[in-house]
Symmetry: C2
Subunit: 211 residues, 2 copies
């Protein structure tokens, strides 16, 4: 592996897709894959894959394709998956609970350390083995725990007020599911998830295919 220089965000956004497809291949005990076959599974071209991976060093051997496990491991390393990330979640409604129950986090090194909610009916409930805490305890918790990622699954109205608490609590990044784009300071990273965007894409494709 060569030393890494800053990489275009478009490449970074493709790496998780590579990682997912390689994980699936590994689960099927497939040891090597040609660049053409991998490209097909990724809905892209062999040259795009080569170009993306070349930014991180040299993978694969001309004529032999890629070694599934070692490429997966290397991409995992690039994505930082070998270092555990500690997370908290704020907003334990249906979406929050669904995320806490998501089976693949722990396997990939993402560890949900605590879950918070404002609703006295929800506080004290258990979700995936975690007792939901009162959001009043959030500041204290952040003072005493180093958290990498805060997940926001509150309604849109209340999402913004947590940003300051997270910045103050030295949280490194926000993974935001509230239907509002959070724009934060340079002190914290934000990834806004807009679930419904793929529905709009689907709407376009339906009209093109069936009309």
């Amino acid at each position: 592996m060569k030393e890494e220089k800053p990489i275009a965000i478009s490449v970074i956004k493709r790496l998780p897709i590579y990682y997912r497809v390689l994980t699936k291949l590994e689960q099927k005990n497939i040891e090597t894959i040609s660049s053409g076959k991998l490209a097909e599974k990724l809905n892209t071209t062999a040259s795009q894959i080569r170009q993306d991976l070349n930014q991180f060093g040299s993978f694969g051997h001309k004529g032999f394709g890629y070694q599934v496990s070692s490429l997966k491991k290397e991409i995992g390393r690039i994505l930082g998956l070998e270092k555990q990330k500690d997370m908290i979640l704020v907003g334990a409604g249906n979406l929050g609970k669904a995320i806490v129950n998501y089976p693949n986090f722990k396997r990939r090194g993402f560890n949900i350390k605590a879950v918070f909610d404002v609703d006295p009916i929800i506080v004290g409930q258990e979700v995936n083995g975690i007792i939901i805490k009162d959001v009043k305890l959030l500041k204290d918790f952040l003072e005493n725990n180093e958290i990498d990622i805060a997940i926001i699954t509150t309604p849109a109205e209340s999402a913004e007020k947590f940003v300051d608490i997270f910045v103050e609590g030295r949280v490194k990044a926000i993974w935001n599911f509230a239907p509002i784009s959070l724009n934060c300071s340079d002190r914290i990273l934000v990834e806004n998830v807009h679930i419904s965007e793929s529905l709009l894409t689907l709407s376009y494709m339906i009209d093109k295919k069936f009309n």
Copy 2:
């Protein structure tokens, strides 16, 4: 508007982002926006926006920027949002319930007509005014109702078995949240949502910024 020819999927995937940002600007009563300002809000370049929109006809006037409302309306039209899409959802666990409760669907013309689950405890419950039906009634329902989109929020193991039922029931598209990629026939469109991919991107960015 010119007659439309097939558009690259990368452009189609950007249109929902344009739509979201324009909706937000409209809500703030902003009537016009320069191409530079819009590009900034979209994290892209003015020339990329111009290039994308030019594929659908001519928008904006040199030197005047874009009219927010009319551009939003036009993009909504391209995305097919002016025609109501009828949907069903299968799998009324936490994620399913969260999606049924999502506030922005109806406003954009997406109408959830029925919700199904296999669990006798969940069947009969109400979510956002809809009584959850037994999944045994799904085939019959599809025979008697024209459905555009079926949302799958079941566990991975059970997602695949619904695909045939949807194809037979002339459902046009599947919006799949089960953590498995569904590969279907030409008779049905599939959009697989991989929520955790943006978390892996975030993991990369954390390691770059804080290490």
